[in-house]
Symmetry: C2
Subunit: 431 residues, 2 copies
């Protein structure tokens, strides 16, 4: 058959191969939180900053600064496409129509991502975003995805044609073997949470399609809004640490600080119901958070366990629900921290029938290239992009794992005191 | 990008998806032998017949007769394309220009494959080709390839999209792992001999390309004439058992029979030199064949070991060369029977430096789908297509492995007596 000359010429016209091609190639919960912030904290100035927790990977040596700038500049050129707007306005999310309000959509339709600040230091990139919270927060996911994919491209660049094909053949086989192990688990509910540290956009899209075919109804959807639209599946997600972190940084006193994480959920409560009412309790220690929680929070649908030992976290939640007179079997526990198939199977078996369980499978779904290249040059690593300050005050995260803690030392001490966090168990952060 | 509408419409126009699309999608040695027969035995009537040695695979239950007829009829519609003729006339084969003579090429350019006879019996297909030897002999390879691929298609037909993609991902990974194991073997020389029992044309073409990239100069070429042309690599092959089998069937006395295998090589000697002078000694027992061989045969370039224990066969050849005053280090041993990577590595190590070694890697190169589907439904099996009679007399093959023997019992007994074949070691035939 003849070459499609027009396609070939069209492909030549691209100056770069863009990594992020849509403003909604972003996690769904970012949009939910964005709307919440847009309504509740529209004037807050926040700084997001890239943090590479895996110092051994010297990103600034691997990734060309010019290429990085081109990708980031390309993202700044994106605006909401008509079809994307139609999807957000017309789709049913979590059983609800018009999830996104008219005023928010009107703002979003005219939105472009604000500028970034990029510098090299000690073999790493310092990449920060400063501005209104609801504007800069939308940088987190695309910034991470760009860094991850550019690092991958730097490695792939040295590989030959069949070597590349076999690399992807191996990655496909690896994922499919995981799917085959998950298939027998009756009643499993699992979503893709792997946008931020995916190997690439195309690979995430492949993973999602493989899960649709391989897991059928056990695969409940993806956190990636664009892929959810493209593949006609559910967009999944609720809220993240940045809400209590920023609310807490804005607190004017220890008393306000102690209440801040609950204020976040009070604001959320007004806006959402059902499966969107998911508690993320670990920002300043799960145990204390639940102990001091108001009763109305026990009525929420579930809890997301995102740090610490997941089984311990789930047991803590079960005991808490019982202590508040709730039936744990009616409650949803979402595991989302560093999951891979062994851990999923283990947690599934441990909590089957005791609570409703769901899994948000991230990096080791969409970027498990471990062991597939020499020197493991494509193995995922721990890259995050976090709100580090709000209206000039530093943010703090304690987490249930001190390895995931962040913030200035004196502020961490203060938060530990205010939230009554004692000794914590250290766990290695893989991804 | 837009769909290439013309491509799509063009694809719709095909009534079938043809398995064999070229008259030279055939093994190169078939063309060499065809020319030899065309010159030396142009009037011999021969019958070729399909034989499925793996009775447990009931081909007539798996493969629709209509589809089989369509594929065979399509092959009968093929004639030599202008570019193919140019390639055969203009290319250098084994360092020689004009390998194919003008009179042969003129005949071949006007050639179409003769009719076939197809019947179902006991869950198997009886497929025979009767006619002039040099005409029906060209059916062997395409007939086998069609049966193998239709059986594969019958299995693949029930698979879903990603399941299929992962199947091929696994097959690619499997081959690549073999290539990675072969890569360190310095001075390795290896050719693709896998046309007849390939998984499919496209898959064989993929395997060849992967070997080109992965093994570089250790991969010396392919037996497939069409793929050799398409990928611009060497076409590999010399001669096969059908020559001594038919010559022997034509013998009028035991004396003539005893001489027939040497007459084959005398005819070959006149036509070819260098690497094309390869002895295939096992048709009626290697040991006796070499003992009684005329001295001029010891001057030939090498020997192909195609049955029995390959190391024993090679040691026999080495001792024979020594006994005839030849230096084995100047001689070529080609292993071509049921090879896989373990055996290749073992034989390479055993004969390195003692003789020149080369490998003709067949079915387990181009059809190693073992272990990749449920019930191993795509595992290769032992299908052959052989000359079973010549001018009305049955053909006989003894081989160095009685499991590969064929012919009527009384004729086998006579041949054993004439060729002095005693007790033989039975070896399982895998493929």
């Amino acid at each position: 058959m003849p070459v499609d000359i027009a396609t070939r010429v069209w492909n030549h016209k691209w100056r770069i191969d863009p990594i992020v091609r849509s403003l909604i190639d972003n996690d769904f919960y970012k949009l939910l939180m964005c709307q919440s912030v847009f309504h509740n904290k529209p004037d807050t100035q926040v700084t997001f900053s890239l943090i590479n927790r895996t110092k051994s990977i010297r990103l600034a040596d691997l990734i060309d600064e010019g290429e990085l700038r081109e990708q980031l500049d390309h993202i700044r050129s994106l605006s909401l496409a008509r079809g994307e707007s139609t999807f957000l306005r017309g789709n049913t999310f979590y059983g609800k129509r018009q999830m996104f309000t008219s005023d928010f959509m009107q703002w979003f339709e005219n939105f472009r991502l604000p500028d970034y600040h990029l510098e090299k230091r000690d073999g790493q990139y310092e990449l920060t975003f400063e501005g209104k919270w609801h504007e800069v927060m939308l940088w987190e996911i695309p910034a991470l995805a760009v860094l991850m994919e550019l690092r991958g491209r730097a490695v792939l660049n040295d590989m030959r044609k069949f070597e590349l094909q076999v690399l992807y053949a191996r990655a496909m086989t690896k994922l499919w073997e995981k799917i085959e192990r998950l298939r027998p688990l009756e009643g499993l509910r699992l979503a893709d949470f792997g946008t931020r540290r995916r190997h690439s956009y195309l690979w995430q899209d492949w993973c999602v399609q493989a899960m649709i075919e391989g897991l059928d109804r056990a695969f409940i959807g993806t956190s990636n809004c664009h892929i959810a639209m493209k593949r006609d599946i559910e967009a999944i997600g609720t809220n993240a640490h940045e809400l209590p972190m920023v609310y807490s940084a804005l607190a004017q006193s220890d008393e306000e600080l102690a209440q801040a994480p609950y204020q976040v959920l009070a604001d959320w409560h007004k806006e959402h119901e059902g499966n969107l009412r998911i508690i993320l309790p670990d920002t300043y220690g799960t145990v204390g958070f639940l102990e001091r929680a108001p009763d109305w929070l026990a009525g929420w649908t579930g809890i997301r366990i995102d740090s610490g030992d997941p089984a311990t976290g789930a047991e803590t939640a079960i005991n808490w629900w019982k202590s508040r007179g709730e039936d744990p079997r009616e409650k949803l526990v979402i595991f989302s921290d560093g999951l891979d198939v062994d851990k999923i199977i283990e947690l599934y078996a441990q909590f089957l029938g005791r609570v409703k369980v769901s899994f948000g499978w991230g990096t080791l779904l969409t970027n498990d290239f471990r062991g597939l290249t020499e020197g493991d040059a494509l193995a995922p690593f721990s890259l995050v992009c976090k709100a580090v300050s709000a209206n000039g005050s530093p943010t703090v995260k304690l987490s249930d794992n001190p390895k995931k803690a962040m913030g200035p030392a004196d502020e961490i001490a203060r938060y530990k005191r205010v939230f009554g966090v004692g000794k914590q168990t250290v766990m290695e952060v893989v991804v």
